[in-house]
Amino acid sequence: MGDLLREPLTAGNALLFLLAAAGLLLIVLGFVTYAIYFERRVIGWMQLRVGPNRVGPLGLLQTVADIFKLLIKEDTIPRKADRALFVLAPVLAYVPAFAVLAVIPYTSGLYFADLNVGLLYYVALSSMTTLAIVLGGWASNNKYALLGGMRSAAQMISYEVPLVMSVVGVVMLSGSMNLRSIVAAQGDWFWQWHFLPQLIGFAIFVVASVSELNRTPFDLPEAESELVAGYHVEYSGFRFAFFMLTEYVYVYAIAALTTVLFLGGWHPPAPFLDIVPGLIWFVLKFALVVFVLFWLRATFPRLRVDQLMGFGWKVLLPLALLNIFVTAAYMELWIK
């Protein structure tokens, strides 16, 4: 892919790009299908349950059946909903979720876009989804959805700030916002990856990204026991599926981003392990992050809105600023 990007754009190249994008879409859809299955099995195992095991061998087709069910369900739009916005919201939520994947490098050669502001691109696009969630909550003309949408707006804005701040340290250390250069800047041994020198940044990033994903313990926008389902309470059928899809595509994106920024991307943990291809290492680290996200869901209760805000602004943000300062001081005193 890397060489292809440097060639001039011809009709043949454009077709190849389209095919590659379609391929990525299929991979992402496959990931979502089996991430949901994996999540249900993992949580089932942690909660002394069995989890899906009836549809297909070991229940592997459960999610396929679920999606098919959503496809053939009646598509209801509440009469007093704002039709245009109601229809727009799921699309607006999904498009940026898929678009951010363009900048993720999987190996030194396998990537879709080589943006010098890759990190910025990710952060900027992913905040568009907040808009879609608020829109969906508002357009549904449902009070629970509205509360969910409002919570989501407040939460995502508050946690985007520490999220961005937490990666500044990484950017400073690698001297680039290009995700490929960031991976390249991380050393060969696993203790040279950014998660150790940037331990505070890593911790803040993990917390803030779980919050961005609206997952437990930050699942307030769709807090089931309070807001029933939150912003997508009025959505059914395929529109609902789109919101779910968005959520899991972001799981994919955040897990990939964590791998790239902090866990050394495609680097093996030690130089002599490079007989195993980089893609395998990437997938392993990626799977670990995904597993931790699911694990959290089985473990934690939910925060309250005011506590969530207080935590974001009063704890994470100062810590992130401190991290930038410490990193800068470290670079000034030691590296120079």
Partner: protein, 366 residues
């Protein structure tokens, strides 16, 4: 200027956290509640009126359906009231069986509360752990009387069935198992920072308010009032056992949480003593006339159910059916403080506070 409006939000009767068909109409200013109006009666079945045309034995299954999470104590309060009225003697073994099932029931009921409360707070796993352990108790009940929820086990003057072979040993085995699991619960949940942040200082009131509202059970004891009918007005055989009544200090949801977990421990303590001195096989029904006709008069008998003071007021005119029957249901009485507690709280705390009161809608509506 931005024009803002209060939001009128209807919580329930179909809502995942109102524990059945309970409804609250709240006025919201942002996420802050300015007014809360509980609406109850969706599960009203007219038990008290129905009872007026039923014999006392026939009323017992109706009591199962009041507090369906703790049916054994409901059985007991009716039998206890009628027995007190008629001055009936209950055989020792029957009384022990009653006490054992009531304490098992208290544990099972508190486990349901613990699980669902954590579910309300947003943690899913504890719910399944609690139900795993409650299942053991339900299985014991199933073996004893053939039902898992609505037991219809007690009778005026005794119990319907003696314990089957090996049942008592199973209860003995359950005690160390539950004690072990309680430690696990504490390790998993009780110290969780998020959980503590959610329940500490939430829904607090003082002893005066609690007494003023007629609260009982953990809702009263959390304010530091040491009041447990098992100690203060002993019924059954509770005066033979040693146990502590846990009390709180701050009267908030955290105190109620601690008290309920501690009550499970104390119930296990009682069970252990009861199993040690359990009487030899003997009759499980006292000498009861074929038709139960309490003498004309009135009685109010009260016991400590898992939720608080469960009372039964019978007015008899010497007939086989009660002239008037009234249950004092702790869920209903404890719920009365809800509108007062909710004002000024957020939507999230509504769920925390409502869950902390521990209502069973079957008992609220009766």
């Amino acid at each position: 200027m931005i024009r803002t409006e209060e939001l009128l939000l209807n919580v329930g009767p179909q809502h995942p956290s109102t524990h059945g068909v309970f409804r609250i109409i709240v006025k919201l200013d942002g996420e802050v509640i300015t007014e809360a109006t509980p609406v109850m009666g969706y599960l009203h079945r007219g038990t008290e009126k129905l009872a007026e045309n039923l014999t006392y034995t026939q009323i017992i299954p109706y009591t199962d359906r009041m507090d369906y999470v703790a049916a054994m104590t409901n059985n007991y309060v009716l039998c206890y009231a009628v027995e007190s009225m008629m001055g009936l003697e209950v055989p020792e073994r029957a009384e022990y069986l009653r006490l054992v099932v009531m304490e098992l029931q208290r544990i099972a009921s508190h486990l349901v509360w613990w699980g669902t409360y954590l579910l309300d707070i947003g943690a899913m796993s504890p719910f399944l752990y609690a139900f795993r352990d409650r299942e053991k108790i339900i299985d014991l009940f199933n073996e004893l009387c053939g039902a898992r929820l609505t037991y219809n086990y007690m009778r005026v003057g005794g119990v319907k069935w003696d314990a089957p072979e090996g049942w008592l040993d199973k209860v003995r085995d359950l005690i160390p198992y539950m004690e072990e699991k309680l430690k696990e619960y504490d390790r998993l949940v009780s110290g969780n920072e998020i959980f503590l942040a959610r329940i500490r200082g939430v829904g607090a009131y003082d002893a005066q308010t609690a007494i003023g509202y007629g609260l009982s059970g953990a809702n009263l004891r959390c304010t530091g009032v040491d009041w447990d009918l098992r100690k203060n007005a002993p019924y059954s055989l509770y005066d033979r056992f040693e146990f502590e009544v846990p009390t709180g200090e701050r009267g908030d949801c955290h105190d109620r949480y601690r008290i309920r977990l501690e009550e499970i421990r104390q119930s296990l303590h009682i069970l252990r003593q009861a199993m040690a001195q359990f009487p030899e096989p003997g009759p499980t029904m006292g000498k009861v006339p074929r038709v139960i006709r309490p003498p004309a008069g009135e009685i109010y008998a009260a016991i400590e159910s898992p939720r608080g003071e469960l009372g039964c007021h019978i007015v008899s005119r010497g007939k086989a059916e009660p002239y008037r029957l009234k249950f004092r249901r702790p869920s209903f009485v404890n719920l009365q403080i809800l509108p007062k507690l909710l004002v000024g709280e957020t939507m999230t705390n509504l769920i925390t506070i409502l869950g902390g009161i521990d209502i069973v809608v079957g008992e609220v509506d009766c």
